[in-house]
Amino acid sequence: MSSSNFYNISNLLYFIAMAAYISYVGFKTRGIALAASGITIAGFISHTLSMAVRWADSHVFWVSAVPTSGTVEALLRSAPLRNLFESLNFFVWALIAFHLIIEFKYKNRSLGAFVLPVAALALAFIDVSGMSKEIEPLVPALQSNWLLFHVFLSFIGYAAFGVSFGAAVAYLITVTESRNEKPYIFGSIVIGIFLVVLIAMGIDFLTLTASQRGELLQSYFLKATFKNSSGLIAVASYIISLAFVAAVWRFGLGLKKVLEGLALNKNTLDEITYKSIAVGFPLFTIGGVIMGAIWANSAWGTYWSWDPKETWSLITWFVYAVYLHARLVAGWKGKKAAILSIIGFVAVIFTYLGVNLVLSGLHSYGSS
């Protein structure tokens, strides 16, 4: 089977698993929980195979394009971590891997209802953004052994941060008593905006495909809605989004009723939030920031140039550094810590996607 077959199968299984985890939260039947885990594992195997096949295909491609490269070099240069699609795909893979580890370790199947949606959002983003899934030749700047380590460790880190985000959201919902509590308002607005941007990008993709213009999706960002040339549509987009975010706030707490009486212990969630960051932070620092700086120095002649990507990774680093110090030294726990974790993940998403979509700079490889 081809890489895309395996990929599609894994996508399907993840979506089914997500539904199963969510219904487990609703019905609390052990059978559903086991099924959810089983489906996730099957999806993960298929996903792993899709990446292996893709690696093999890229290897064939690379060897035919550059017959002079050595065995190790050819393997490194064809690893499936080379563009936006492959990195997001790896992010989802790592996220699911983390999820399975935590499920196994903490014997807690409810967290899937919060982590799988993050994976599903990433997969949905791959499709609505219309990014290229083709195997493409590597541009000169990426032909470095640092690519593999830098991207690999960064995304393991991102995935750990993704788990902490899922756990922090679950925590906030569990401890919130009333809709008017500030932490809840903040959390629901963040998630509402996430969804709004995702939907808006989906509309971009659909209208651009329908219009059959050769415009780049990146330059078309939000032009179907918020930046529409018709002022009416633009204003309507803002109003609808506002209503949507309000609806997320209004009905999000409905999840709490579903969660009540479930094996979701708030202390466990708090601990998972912290532990995921404690794993993600060193990996992100070493792989993302340090290796990125060393690579930049060998490719561009400067280890730090305040390029938007570098700066945003530093911002992310600051936020998680605050989380760790606030928790370990100042003793912040619970809601305050959960909010910091959510802010941290917003910074992660902006570092990874926002910079490529909205800002420009040296680091534009991941944008096609």
Partner: protein, 493 residues
């Protein structure tokens, strides 16, 4: 008076030692950093951006405000530097403030504990093992040693206690990380003070003795650097660049001392100055007085650059030929005389009309037109494409390979001297080690009390770990079950 001085000192010290200040400074750094990622950090781009966002009319006023606030070059502004200084002082004072206490904990040996104290530890377990005190004692001694603990022993009436600790120095991991961050600032300062960043655009075949910094300052090198050639290679049958490369030569005292082909991830370093492949372009801007021959395929500079060909008669020896536009050459032993008559940097075929045309002014698909004249026959002209060997063979089986039109491109080099980079690399290594220790290693303390009972021993085990309590619990349980198995000769369960 002295006391007062002391009080002020302690007040300032306490301010900088506070975690609140650390959190505030980190958050301020995070928030202010966003500005420079949104507002372009170059004057003309910033104006363009502001005109786009705020409208042409408002842009100048906002621009002036941004200049006052240093938003256009914010990462080098006095207020951002002040934040970084605050951050470093805070980091240093916080670490110095905490270190004595941590050092005291590290230096404090473990002591035996009472029964209740063991029960109150972070982790504690109680089991019974059938066997004599001596057997159980030996069992624990073995298993503690196997777990890399060095157990100490305290004996009391009817009870024995083992107590031990390991990994106490891992408590320093976090300070190692802090130190590495300060070291990065030191490295950055050294680079700022003693290094420079510049650029050098060298046309093929030219030599330079100096480079220019980005502020326009000229820096003289104590050697010469020459670009032999520049070339963009493309992936097969596509216009996606595979590599940007130039051959650079370092000349010192009239002698060639170094020669290297630099690529994007592979620079040349000589005497602490590093030359990186950064960009490339047409070299015509460097020759303002050149004349051009206007053909259907573009403007061809006259007298500038050389066509490099490899010529071979059918079955004969290959020979390199270099010639200028309009010049002629022979194919040895064939009586063929050939003349370079036209050139296109990017020759393509219009799919509709089938006509040849130049589709780009970059060297995407260089092609040379050569007029071939054989005695007694009609002359004809053919195109020879650099990227298509199929076009190199002419009737009669003779070969004219088009290697390149040399001398028309320049290589753009980023030039850096940064003596601080080694400090940065050292800091990176220290930080990596520090992070590993701080996040993945733990200071563990363990107490095991053995109380002699009739035919059996009551075991009270407990301990504490600075990290990963779950794993530590499993470690203690494993020591208990292994010992109990060894003594009783069967599983505890």
């Amino acid at each position: 008076m002295k006391d007062k001085d002391n009080n002020i000192f302690y007040a300032v010290w306490n301010l900088f030692a506070s975690i609140k200040l650390a959190i505030v400074v980190l958050l301020l750094l995070a928030v202010t950093s966003i500005v420079g990622t949104v507002v372009p950090q170059e004057a003309d781009k910033a104006i363009e951006f502001l005109a786009d966002v705020a409208g042409e009319n408002n842009a100048p006023a906002i621009y002036n405000l941004f200049v006052t606030l240093d938003f256009i070059d914010m990462y080098h502004s006095w207020w951002f530097k002040l934040l970084l200084v605050l951050f470093s002082v805070n980091l240093l004072v916080c670490s110095l403030d905490k270190l004595p206490r941590i050092w005291h904990i590290i230096q404090t040996p473990v002591h035996p504990l009472g029964e209740q104290a063991i029960k109150n530890l972070q982790v504690s377990r109680e089991i019974k093992i059938k066997g004599s005190l001596q057997e159980v004692k030996d069992g624990f001694l073995n298993n503690l040693k196997a777990g890399r603990y060095i157990p100490l022993e305290a004996t009391d009436a009817g009870s024995v206690q083992f107590y031990s600790q390991k990994g106490r120095y891992t408590r320093l991991g976090v300070y190692v990380v802090h130190l590495s961050i300060l070291l990065i600032f030191v490295g950055a300062l050294v680079g700022f003070q003693f290094g420079f960043d510049g650029q050098l655009n060298l046309p093929e075949g030219t030599t330079s003795s100096s480079v220019y910094t980005f502020d326009g300052e000229r820096i003289d090198l104590d050697f010469l650097i020459r670009c032999n050639w520049y070339e963009t290679t493309y992936y097969k049958e596509s216009f996606r660049p595979q590599e940007f490369e130039s051959e650079l030569v370092i000349i010192e005292d009239g002698k060639e001392v170094m020669r290297k082909i630099v690529e994007v991830n592979d620079p040349l370093t000589y005497k602490g100055i590093t030359f990186y492949q950064a960009n490339y372009g047409s070299a015509l801007q460097f020759y303002p007085n050149i004349n051009f021959y206007q053909s259907n395929y573009g403007k061809i500079p006259v007298g500038l650059g050389e066509f490099i060909l490899k010529v071979a008669p059918a079955g004969g020896q290959e020979q390199a030929v270099r010639l200028k536009f309009g010049e002629a050459f022979d194919i040895p032993g064939t009586g063929i005389k050939a003349t370079v008559v036209d050139f296109s940097p990017a020759l393509g075929r219009d799919p509709r009309s089938g006509n040849l045309y130049t589709f780009d002014d970059q060297m995407l698909n260089p092609a040379v037109a050569i007029e071939i004249k054989e005695e007694g026959k009609n002359a004809y002209t053919g195109w020879f494409l650099k990227r298509d060997p199929g076009t190199w063979i002419i009737p009669g089986g003779h070969k004219i390979e088009f290697v390149e039109f040399w001398g028309l491109e320049y290589t753009g080099l980023q030039v850096s001297k940064d003596p601080g980079v080694w400090i940065i690399y050292l800091a990176c290594i220290i930080m990596t080690l520090g992070l590993y220790v701080a996040f993945f290693m733990s200071h563990k303390r363990i107490w095991i009390m053995l109380l002699n009972e009739k035919n059996s021993v009551r075991v009270l085990a407990g301990g504490s770990a600075t990290k990963n309590r779950l794993a530590f619990e499993q470690e203690i349980e494993s020591i208990l079950s292994k010992t109990s198995e060894a003594v009783e000769g069967r599983s505890r369960k």
